[in-house]
Every structure is written in structure tokens, then in C-alpha cells.
Amino acid sequence: MTVQQPKPSRIDWITLLLYYIFVIGGLLCIYASVYKETNPNIWDGSMNYGKQLVWIGISSFIGLMILLIDEKFFYAFAYPIYGITILLLILVLVAGTTVKGSSSWIELGGFRIQPAEFAKFGTALALARFLCGYNVNFEKDRKIQLLSAGIIILPMLIILLQNETGSTLVFTSFILVLFREGLPGWILFVGFMLAILAVMALLMPPLYIIIGLAVLAVIFLILVRRTTQLIWLTLGVVILSGAMVSSIDYVFENVMQAHQRTRINVLLGKEVDIKGAGYNVQQSKIAIGSGGVWGKGFLQGTQNKFRFVPEQSTDFIFCTIGEEYGFAGSLLFIILYMILLYRLLMMAERQRQKFNRIYGYSVVCILFFHFVINVGMTLGLMPVIGIPLPFISYGGSALLSFTVLLFIFIRLDANRVNELRGAYD
């Protein structure tokens, strides 16, 4: 068997270009956010930007490697890769290093890596491999559905045990992948309604919500043609919702940790605490809000430079974009990001192979989820959940894992023409 080298023309250069725009832009933002007049050397390896530069180099190298590997490798080794990431995750539980309350790191030489980051593409590969089989019918087969959920939930559970809520939540983005593969739309809708119920449960006493639901149910039943089945169904919905609302309330009050409770309360506007838990979000909004239309200019953002914004080079890196490049820069960033997502979506849909498509959708959904949570957090629209902004945030593991995630798909996509030709051979 000869290794099929991808021809340069078949690599999706637009995606690659966007990748480098984000990575280089991110580096400049990291540089600006930790910039000090006393140490302006961007090549300084002891500073975040210096390290990030090293990571960009490593990522580019590994990205190139991925592009040179036979595309069948990923199909063949999907399960082993998934297995290795799960093992790494378990290893972290045993021998991890605790950083800022989450024990999700492994010391490796001078660098720390976070296996949870790599579990993302591991899971994406495994899910794609599992669902691409000829006799696999996700839409009909209940067993397949449960196993798919299992593939996703297993790493989630281990990561949750590492106290990494943010990374755990990222895996919920696979729901959108499953939706593409036949998960009924009403589940998405129900999920959405449940989310709204959950937020309401946090805002007001459960009893009020149950009464409100009951009233709505009565009105609904008066308006429609009543069948016994419908009445029972409605009753069931009300009871289940009531149970859920009550249990959310219980979990919130008794299971969640205090800092998580406060974060959610601050987000919902139930607590106003400018110097406490709300401080981060308030400072983040101040930094972005003070950017105005055109921003303060490169290295001129005072809020980031003088450390008012917390985690300004990692989770809150979007503040630097907002402050130094203003509305114009933020808009440009969002547009570019949307172009990337759209491009990937198009690429995923044009795949002949199911494996490639499922993997592609996983990439899109993971990138989208990170965007929603991260940018939403800095804008005060989402709770403070510490996950990085892909390609932009400082952090070696994150950059490397996103690079691998994206480049595997680029590699898979580059081969689609060969497959076509192969069909005529």
C-alpha cells in the first residue's frame, strides 16, 4: 500500500490561513496583555508570549506531521487514541498537579500539559469511528445511541472528577454533532426548554414555577382538542418539570460549591458584588467597554496592562481585543471566527466519508462551544467558566490540542478528491 501524500492544492488553504491569522493575532494579544515597558522583548522565553511562540512552533511542526500522515491512520487508530487519552485522564487523577483548584495537569519536563484538552479530539475520533460503520443506524438503534452517549460521557466524568467544570461542559457540544447524525430535533428543543427552566429555577422558588407551569398547562388544554392521551402527556410534562426544577434547586443549594453558586448568582444579577466574585466580570466589561469604536491601540490598553482584568492572557484574552482594537476589532474577530466555522461546516458537509463528516462536525461544534462560553463570559452573558478561546488564549496544551483537532480535519478533507478518483479506478 502506498502512502497517499496530499497534494498542496487539496489542502484547504483558507482554513490554514485563518488558523495562522488567529494564532499570530493571539500572540500579539498575549504580548499586549502582559506587556511591560521594562521588558518589551517579544522573544523572551520566560514570558507568556515567548512561551506561546515556542508552542506555535511546536504546533506548526505537529500540524505539518499530521498533514503528512496517511489519512487512514486516524481511522485506524481512532480507538487507541481515545484509549490513550482516557488513560492519561485517569493518570492525572492519580499523579496530577493541582493548578488553581483544578487537578488536571501533568508535569512533563519544563512544560505542563492538560490531558483534558487532548480528550476532545480523542473523543471526536472515537465517536466518528463508532458511528461511521455501514451497519450503524444512529437514528433507529437505541443501543447505538446509548453507546455514543457513553463514548462522550466517559471522559466527561473523569474530567469532572478533576474539578475542571469548563472542560467537562465542552463535551456537551457533541449534542450538536449527534443532531446532525439523526438525533431528533425535538430533543434539542426540549434541551433548550430545560435550560430555560433551569435558569428560572435558579432565579425564583420552585413552587412558583410549578404553579406557573400548571396554569400554562390548563390554558393549553382548554385551547386544544382534548384527548385522554394529551391530558396525560401534559400532566406528565408538568410533573417532570416540577421534579426537575426542584432537583436543580436542591443541587444548586446543596451540591454545588460556594464559588460556583456565587458565579451563577452574579451572572443572574442576584448578587451585586463588584469587588468580589463579580470583580472579574466587571473588570472584563470595563476593559472591553472602554475600547470604544476603534480601541485604544496596540499596547495602549490600560486595563489589561495594569492587571485589572484577571487571567488576561488566558481565559480573558478577548478583553485585550475589545480594549485595544475596540468594536471594530471585536467585530472583525467575530466575523473571521464565523467564517472559519462556516468554512469548516461546508467542508464537513462535502465529505464523502461518514467518518470524516462526523469528525468535521465535532471540530466545528467544539470550536463553537468554546467561542460561546469564552466570549460570552467576558461580555458578562455567560457564567465564568474557565475555558480558553481557541488559537488565541495563552496555553500550550490548548493551542496544541486545537491545532491537532483542526489539522486532522484538514488532512482528512485533503483526501476527499483521492477518494473520488479511487471510485473510478
Binding site: 430535533g185 467597554g289 472602554s290 475589545g322 467575530i334
Partner: protein, 612 residues
């Protein structure tokens, strides 16, 4: 749902979220401008740069007042870390209770914020400062701010220079927020009148601070900073040597001396006795010392020369002589007899009858009662009020009965009644010269501050005009810009009537009541006064100018409850004139000794001049 629709659904979800975020960005970055303000609040710290207060010199360039560094111990409560309270208290020399009390007091203060610097202890001593600097690292959050306070090189002229202190809430309100809590402002004396000149203009420096309140550099390279403008230096018209001599001469006596340069209205000496050491009202003990001075029964804070009115006594006869001539009821040849007095006003033994010049020389009471009678009962006027109004007008033109407008705070108007006052007392037209005859010899309803006395002397010396007396000669080496201090205020007396009176005044010194004040080689013209007062022994009063032609100094001296004008006031004036004109004051050693050593504090407990 087909695959295309699913893809579209995802795309719609993506774009919806992106749109929500863009709208949110639009709102906080463009619509809501408050974030810009918050951001500046975060990083911008406004620091005040205090200008150096202007220095004060005497007329000859001798430094009188300068600035001295003081150290305030400040703290940013939020930055305190692991404070070792015990050693902290030890360095500051306070106990733990005081430490706790201070904190409680600071936290109660208006506008207290743990992120803002606040003064923990004002004006720590230099040894404490030194001890503190050594241990500064142990006391994180604390720092020492350097400000300046006043220091006085000489212990003289306390009333003239006044003092500075912290602004009150009213000062802050009046200044439209220019002054801030804890700023210094002139409270009395020149410090107060010339606050604007001496105070300078505060500057502002905008620095960027990080989230830990550490300075990170200038805001926009100092584009918005304003430099502090130093206060202007001031030259007083006071002659430090003359002032010091006068204060020494008035030691252990209650009284005032005012010396004026007639040509310019510049005050050469302004002495109030008892006085105090201006260095007392400096530093953290200012409040306590002030209260002590305030409670002192000798009233050292009372600024006698500009606010205390005394009956002028016989020195008023000089003014009477000029008025009489101006009103044509008197000329240099008018003679009146004196038989030891006039009605109930007594007089001493002297030659009789006398013409004007002689009457001034021997200070004949009877003579001036006659003059007063002919003035008030002047047949030229139908009513007594009209005649008295002329008297009032003349006296007023010499600066009596109103504040002259010296550049010091607290000047009094003295006492000079209007005709209406007597109308009310006796009924309209129902009074005449004899009713108020004591005014003819400077008693009764007359009160003149030593400043007004000196000013009247200057008017006589100038043969008919005075310039408003003032204490500040130059501001930043330019003449005092106040036009009042450059304007001749003409009296209502014609210049031609002055020579004969001045001859009489010279006779007072050469062969009259104030022979003791004679200085060989200097032609002095003066007049003694012995003012009766209802509260005790007579006040000793003397006013004079010298030299007779081209006068350089006009002086008025009041020594309370000291008896005859010639006993104390005249010698003191004489010694001071000698000092000013010749630079020496020790040619008459016996007289000098007697004046310096004279202690009159036991003479009368009622040492104060009555103001009302």
C-alpha cells in the same frame, strides 16, 4: 429533517449567537460610555503637587518666614500586610489603645475608602520619621508624605505675619473645591490677606496605577498634568530691626507702636504688646498652643494697633488746631488765657495767655476747649449739627472713624460719632460745644486706633495728605499693585495751615512737654497725650514725625495705663525714630535701659484697651 436543513439549523444557531454578541459589544463599547469612565477611575490617580508657599522678607530683604518640611504618616488600608502592631506602636510612640482609637476615627471619616491614602498621623517628629523610614518595609501600606509648614526666623511681628492652618469646611466650600481637606491656608495676618499670592497654585499629576495601586507611569506622558506654580515672595514694608527694637521696648508693657513712612504709607513697624512667638503656632501643637494663647488673660492674640481704639487725649489738639484754622475761628495769633483750666476741665501750670504755637507746646487744655467751643458754636452755621458735621468731616479726612484699609485682617474703625448720635442723646439742636467739650482735648466720644494715630501724624508730616497705610511693599519684586497704596488722600485742611502747627509740634520736643524725646541733630515734631480712661490709670500716648522737613518716619505709641505721654510713650518713640533714622539706638543708654527694663504689668489688672 434533511441534512441540508440540519446544516442550516446549526448555521443559524452560530449566527444568532454571533449577532447577540455583536449587539452586546455594540452596547458596551459604543452606546454605554460609562465603561470609559470606570476604566479611567481604575487606572488614573490624581496626585496633587503642592507648591512651595511664598517667602516673606522685610523691607531690606531680611528673610522673615520660610518653609520647613513636615512629615505626615499616611496609609492605604487595603495595602496593609502582616502589620506588627506592637513594633509599629513602639516606633510611633503610641499605645495600643491609641492605635485602635485612631483606626476607629479614620474609618468614621467622610469619604473613607480602604483603597485611598489617608493620613494616619499628622506631622510626625523628625526622629520618628527617621525611625520609621528604617522600618518602612515592615509596615507595608504605610508611607510618609512630605509637606511644608512655616518657620519664622525671628520671633517678631507675629501679628503682622499671622499664621497658617488647615482649611475649614467653609474655606473648601468658598474655594469651589480648590482646597482639599488638610490643605493649609492663611488664617490671619499677611498670610491671610495675601493667601492668593503666597499660596501659589496647586499642580496635578495624573499617574497610571495598576490593580495593586502601584504607580506604572505617567498618563499620556503628562499631557494633562499641570505644574504647581510656586507662591510669590513678598517683601513687607516692616523694618525688622525697628520692629525688634519696638517689641523689646514694649516688653512687659501693654500697648502698641505704629510707624509709617509718610511719603509712601508703608508701615515700618506694627507692634502689639504683649505678643507671642510666631513659631508657637506651627506644627502639630498649633491647636493646643492657640488655645493657650486664647485663654491668656493678657490677650496676646489681640491685635491692638489696628483694632483697639483709644481716646487720643492731647495729641488730638494738633488736629483741632488745623480744623480751627480751616474753619476761620482760629489763627496763629489767637490767644486765650488759662487759669488752671477751663470750666471743669483742668490744666497744669504754664505761662498765660498763649498763642496757638505756645498752646500746642504746653498742651493747654483751656486753649483747646476754647477752640472746640468756637468750632461747634460757630455762628456761621445755623444749627449745631452743621457745625459738628464740619468737625466730623475734617476728623474723617485724617482717617478717623473708619477702617483705613490696611492689608491686614481685623482692622477696626475706631470711634467718631455722627451728629445724629448726639441728637439722639440730647435731642435735636439741644446740644452745643459745652455739652461735648471733652472732645476738644481728645476725650469723650472719640476712639482712635494707634494705626489711625500714626496715619494722622503722617498726614500732618505730609502737610495735608496720607497714603493708605499698608504692610506689603513688594510682591515678587514688583510694587504692591493695589492702586489705593499709591493714591494721595487729601485732608480737608489747606496746606497753608500746617506750618504753624508743625512749629508748635517741634516746640513740644525742643522746649515743651516731650523734651525727653529730643535727639540732638534731628528735628522732631510731636505731641504727647495722656488719655484718661474709665478703666484705670491714664494711657501714655505720643505721636511724632521726623525729620521736620522731608519726614522719613511718622510714629504713634500707646502704652496702656502708664501715665503721662512723656514718661513712656515719648521716649519709646524717640528711641525708635533714632534707630530708624540713624541705625543706632544706644546713644542714650540710661533712657534705653529704663525703657527696656520698665515693667508696667503690675500697674493695672485691666490691661486691655476697651474696644467698645
Amino acid at each position: 429533517m434533511n441534512n441540508y436543513a440540519k446544516q442550516r439549523t446549526l448555521l443559524i444557531i452560530f449566527i444568532s449567537v454571533a449577532l447577540v454578541y455583536v449587539v452586546r459589544l455594540f452596547y458596551i463599547q459604543i452606546v454605554d460610555t460609562s465603561y470609559v469612565f470606570y476604566a479611567q477611575n481604575n487606572v488614573l490617580q490624581e496626585q496633587t503637587i503642592y507648591p512651595a508657599r511664598g517667602l516673606i522678607y522685610d523691607r531690606n530683604g531680611e528673610l522673615l518666614v520660610y518653609n520647613d518640611a513636615i512629615y505626615d504618616l499616611s496609609v492605604i488600608p487595603e495595602q496593609i500586610k502582616n502589620l506588627d502592631t506592637l513594633s509599629f506602636c513602639k516606633v510611633l510612640n503610641i499605645d495600643k489603645v491609641e492605635f485602635i482609637n485612631t483606626w476607629a476615627r479614620l474609618k468614621r471619616q467622610k469619604g473613607y475608602s480602604p483603597w485611598k491614602p489617608i493620613v494616619f498621623q499628622r506631622q510626625i517628629t523628625i526622629p520618628t520619621y527617621a525611625a520609621f523610614q528604617e522600618k518602612l518595609f515592615d509596615f507595608q501600606g504605610f508611607f510618609v508624605e512630605v509637606r511644608t509648614d512655616r518657620k519664622y526666623k525671628h520671633n517678631n511681628a507675629a501679628h503682622v505675619m499671622g499664621y497658617i492652618g488647615e482649611v475649614t469646611d467653609r474655606d473648601i466650600e468658598k474655594s469651589n473645591g480648590y482646597y482639599r481637606m488638610g490643605d493649609f491656608i492663611g488664617i490671619s495676618g499677611v498670610e491671610r490677606t495675601y493667601e492668593k499670592e503666597l499660596g501659589g497654585i496647586k499642580g496635578t499629576r495624573y499617574v497610571l496605577v495598576d490593580s495593586k495601586n502601584r504607580t506604572q507611569g505617567r498618563y499620556k506622558n503628562g499631557e494633562f498634568d499641570t505644574a504647581a506654580i510656586a507662591g510669590k515672595n513678598i517683601n513687607l514694608s516692616i523694618d525688622q530691626n525697628l520692629q525688634a527694637l519696638g517689641e523689646a521696648l514694649l516688653m512687659n508693657k501693654t500697648g502698641s507702636v505704629v510707624a509709617i513712612e509718610p511719603k509712601t504709607g508703608e508701615v515700618l513697624a506694627l507692634i502689639s504688646s504683649p505678643t507671642y512667638d510666631p513659631n508657637l503656632l506651627v506644627g502639630r501643637e498649633r491647636g493646643n498652643k492657640y488655645m493657650e494663647l486664647l485663654k491668656d488673660p493678657a490677650k496676646p492674640l489681640f491685635d491692638r494697633p489696628i483694632s483697639a481704639p483709644y481716646p487720643p487725649g492731647s495729641i488730638f489738639k494738633v488736629i483741632m488746631s488745623l480744623m480751627g484754622q480751616q474753619e476761620q475761628v482760629l489763627n496763629q495769633n489767637t490767644t486765650y488765657g488759662c487759669h488752671r483750666g477751663y470750666l471743669f476741665v483742668g490744666c497744669h501750670a504754664h505761662n498765660s495767655p498763649l498763642a496757638l504755637r505756645g498752646a500746642i507746646a504746653v498742651s493747654c487744655n483751656a486753649y483747646f476747649c476754647q477752640v472746640y467751643r468756637s468750632l461747634i458754636n460757630n455762628p456761621k452755621y445755623k444749627y449745631v449739627e452743621d457745625a459738628y458735621n464740619e468737625f466730623y468731616k475734617h476728623a474723617y479726612s485724617f482717617g478717623m472713624g473708619h477702617a483705613l484699609g490696611i492689608d491686614l485682617y481685623g482692622e477696626g474703625p475706631g470711634v467718631l460719632k455722627k451728629a445724629a448720635y448726639f441728637d439722639k442723646l440730647y435731642g435735636r439742636h439741644h446740644w452745643q460745644a459745652l455739652t461735648t467739650i471733652s472732645m476738644g482735648i481728645g476725650q469723650g466720644e472719640l476712639g482712635i486706633t494707634p494705626l489711625q494715630m500714626a496715619n494722622a501724624t503722617a498726614a500732618v508730616a505730609n502737610r495735608g495728605y496720607y497714603i493708605t497705610p499698608h504692610i506689603v511693599r513688594k510682591i515678587n519684586n514688583h510694587a504692591n499693585p493695589n492702586p489705593e497704596y499709591n493714591t494721595k488722600h487729601w485732608t480737608t485742611i489747606d496746606t497753608s495751615y500746617f506750618p504753624i502747627v508743625i512749629e508748635g509740634m517741634q516746640d513740644v520736643i525742643e522746649r515743651g512737654t516731650a523734651y525727653i524725646a529730643r535727639i540732638p541733630g534731628i528735628e522732631i515734631c510731636g505731641k504727647t497725650g495722656t488719655a484718661q480712661n474709665p478703666h484705670g490709670k491714664d494711657h501714655s500716648i505720643f505721636f511724632a514725625f521726623a525729620p521736620k522737613n522731608n519726614p522719613k518716619i511718622a510714629i504713634a505709641v500707646v502704652v496702656e495705663n502708664a501715665g503721662f505721654g512723656a514718661t513712656w510713650a515719648a521716649p519709646i518713640a524717640s528711641l525708635m525714630m533714632e534707630q530708624y533714622l540713624t541705625g543706632k539706638h544706644d546713644t542714650r543708654k540710661v533712657l534705653l535701659e529704663r525703657m527696656l527694663k520698665g515693667n508696667l504689668t503690675h500697674r493695672n489688672d485691666s490691661t486691655t484697651a476697651k474696644t467698645k
